[in-house]
Symmetry: C2
Subunit: 292 residues, 2 copies
Amino acid sequence: MFEQLGLIGCGLMGGSFALALKRAKLVKRVVGYSKSPSTTERARQLGVIDVAAPSALLAVSGADLVLIAVPVAASEATFKAIRHGISADTLVMDVGSTKGDVIEAARRGLQDQFSSFVPAHPIAGKEVAGIEHADAGLFTRRQIVLTPVKATLRSNVQRATQIWTAVGGHVLTMTPEAHDSAFAAVSHLPHLLAFAFINAIAGQPQGASFLALAGSGFRDFSRIAAGDPTLWRDVLLANREQVLRQSQAFRKELLQFEALIASGDGQALERAIDNASRTRGRWQPAAPPSSD
Amino acid sequence: MFEQLGLIGCGLMGGSFALALKRAKLVKRVVGYSKSPSTTERARQLGVIDVAAPSALLAVSGADLVLIAVPVAASEATFKAIRHGISADTLVMDVGSTKGDVIEAARRGLQDQFSSFVPAHPIAGKEVAGIEHADAGLFTRRQIVLTPVKATLRSNVQRATQIWTAVGGHVLTMTPEAHDSAFAAVSHLPHLLAFAFINAIAGQPQGASFLALAGSGFRDFSRIAAGDPTLWRDVLLANREQVLRQSQAFRKELLQFEALIASGDGQALERAIDNASRTRGRWQPAAPPSSD
């Protein structure tokens, strides 16, 4: 049981973490802070946080658990702002979709408190953002990736594992590098492709009439294109090297498909599609998705 | 009320059409034929068809309504096989995802009976194929695109509209060219991208471990990659000109995204994502998807 969660960023992820902790009876008091005072106030009104703090530093003062749930580009400023409120006993975590850049931001921002920080990425979310959608069940049966580094306190990694397990997550641990290359492939690349796909269609003179005919295949394929622009700008830039590498590998594969189509090589085209179809048919989510 | 539906191709689409017609009490008898005798027999055992015919010609003999529900590449041979069983009173339809090529196949195959043919594309389907998944509700609230040409009998277009409306569909009519360019953009292109995406990931040394980490965004984005290889080979080849045009437009857009990421131009990147996010956020399926 923690005495106080200091929550920086009262959005979907931060709010859901606070609610999940409360439901699991893991925390006595949640003190929250968001850049926008009206968001912080709304979180308090909704009962997601108990106390609205006027600054990030005040939100973490006295907290034995801190969650940073801000856009990844705001990580360093946030770590700097809270540094003097962190003690050797505090467990600090984040929820960022990229890990290498957040770890560097934490190293610079937290300085001698860096060992308290356990980098975390819950593979969970919704297409809708904001505290109104916070959900105590958001992490149920979802994968939670922790990417501790050499300096990270082992005891904090253990505590982090216990917390995420208690709110229903499946915890796995890997290096930040392995995390960032894997998620460039299975998360950042599909988002990039979905954004480019929608803009490529919408940019055509008949784009609107094309879109009016789209069915359920389009609906599912393009769902992630509705993602939050600020969040995804930050993710694509933070992990740019791996994202560009994946995008290039994808374009190479697409060109091979185009060549098979242009040459009318039905046999090779069917083999290529069959390969994709079998791979996708075999795929199972590591943790069964929740019903959101 | 039709006396007899001659069904060529007892798969998901053909079987669903037969069941939907029966449920709407639009047909007295369904005579079915599939290339594989065991499929035809299975359709009879399941009650989807009433009589198993030993040939396509025998399935359409005496039928006042014919549905061709075979892979688009098999269209011409099918039209040729049934030509002598078609009379001036028969309404012939197909369910192919491409229209220009099927119309040419019908022109060559049906010859003087070509005017009986109403090209149709129900925007409906499931990831699973086969007669076992046939579903009388498959067309409920789905769009049904008819692409009649000059020679098509107006009375048959009217009858086709009545049938599809009676089984729950929303009928719209357009030229085959408009159909093929629109579906290249909103259906064939996303399938192509999903196939290339899966193969690009799976082809990497760490591909399997990457895929094991994928979440719900990946799940939805890549669902259509599990599509039927023969069907999609045929569609991509049949509509190759429009598909290649769309793929090239997509690659151009993707390269622009890559340039923004590589140069670190956060403002322009956010604008581009915002554009995609708003477009996708506003999008509504023309007909609300059914619950499959």
